[in-house]
Amino acid sequence: MELFKVLLELITLPAFILGLIALVGLLIQKKSTSEVIVGTIKTILGLLIMSIGIGALINALIPIQSMFQVGIPAAGFETFVTFDEAVVGAVQSANEANIGAAIAWTMLFGYIIHLVLARVTKFKYVYLTGHMIWIHAGAFAILFQSFGLSLFWTVVLASIVDGAYMTLAPALAQPVMRKIIGNDSIAFGHGQTLLNMVGAWVGKLVGDPNDSAEDAEMPDSLNFFRDMAISISLIMVVVALIAVILAVLQIGIAGVQETISGGQNWFVFALLQALGFTAGVLVLLQGVRMLIAEIVPAFKGVADKLIPGAIPALDCPVIYPFAPNSLIIGLISGTIGQVLGMVGLALIGWPVPLPSMIAAFFASGAGAIFGNATGGRRGAWAGGFIWGFVGWFMISFAYKFQVFGDLAGMGAIDLGFTVPDAIIPGIVIWLIAKIFGV
């Protein structure tokens, strides 16, 4: 019995469930014994590494947040970091009420439902963006578990929504993708779809696709934002310095060093927290990388057999080479949108997501490319801006009203979701649940 109990405890651990999924995937692909063992162990290690990164990231974030709290006097506003990988990673590693297991099972069954839907409906898309498969499984599992459902019903409902999302979102974006790429060879598989489509619709209203942003010459000097380590460091150093200066203005240097930095020089402390946060993100991403490295090829292997000729739905950077100018316009207009969104949110007293260069580059960049496809240069500016501005309100809404439940209580302290494809269905389902009094 004791052995049985140990086994049961082991197989309900999220890391081992994901290891199990990888194991089956590797076996289906008929990999060699050594590859199967290595792949399975690496997948398990991925989740454990992720939790170490999350710990470092949150440890660095908490003092920055407390500096904001001290620095912005009462009746001010609350700030948080919007970062999907960190939310799902933190919740899954903390594993409150075994939510991590629900996430892992949703990732598997959601994908199975997706493949079945792609097989039987006319939407022949196969979603292959690994971290997005994981994030959406996580978001929907967290959402349904927050209604107080059992593990079984959480996994059933979350998998259905997740499977439907992965099948329908690429179909929704395909008319615009066809304009961007010129053919139907690939589809869009990233959680940005809904806001990118808003960008495309607005682009159509305000601009002219023949006046393409791609006709102009643009410098590519902003390209360094692609290096995660650099872009996150830069933004976090600025954020931490603003936080510490605000705190110093309120309680003085001595006050900060006494109550927050543990005696360390205020400037050095702020710098270290910013870089410590970045280091945590890099460790987290290493974990994500190991987690999905084995699972994505396995999913693709099954999809190739089950749905021959399906269109692969891929990560957002596949469209960048088709519209490099729009990408830069998106980075600029998205940053402006974020800053104006922050000001607006602070004015109405809602929680303020700190600026994110990841969102500005990857999300507003893609939004601008969608906008350019339907509305040319003006569309590109609108698409990037909308992602930053409207996106910031949407992100704040989900955080403020706890659409996904008490994320902080589940381990994701001061963290919120970013992608509209998780947040908007999340809000709709949350509202329906409210109406029924859940």
Binding site: L128, G130, H131, D220, R226, D227, L285, V296, P317, P321
Partner: protein, 94 residues
């Protein structure tokens, strides 16, 4: 041969390039190569034989001692096939 595909995060575009390269290898019956997705931040200092990256990463990979193949159209299997098969041939003949 060890081939690294590179992107900013190390699991999006690089993973996709890996899958496409493996499709090409499978279709052409090429074996004996390992394709690893990698991120821009940590790939320096790694021992690989060939690096594959999107063209817009050129400025980040300048000065790489390993041979780098740049892919312009990430979804064009023809381009991927031609460039990578040629690069492998070149490296193997050395």
């Amino acid at each position: 041969m060890k081939i690294a595909t590179i992107c900013g995060m190390g699991f999006g575009t690089s993973m996709m390039l890996k899958l496409f390269i493996e499709d090409v290898f499978k279709a052409k019956g090429i074996t004996g190569h390992q394709v690893i997705p990698w991120d821009l931040g940590t790939f320096k200092g790694q021992q690989v034989d060939l690096v594959v990256a999107p063209t817009d990463m050129k400025s980040h990979l300048k000065g790489s001692e390993t041979k780098v193949v740049y892919i312009k159209n990430l979804v064009d299997k023809q381009e991927i096939e031609e460039k990578i098969v040629a690069a492998i041939k070149e490296l193997e003949s050395k």
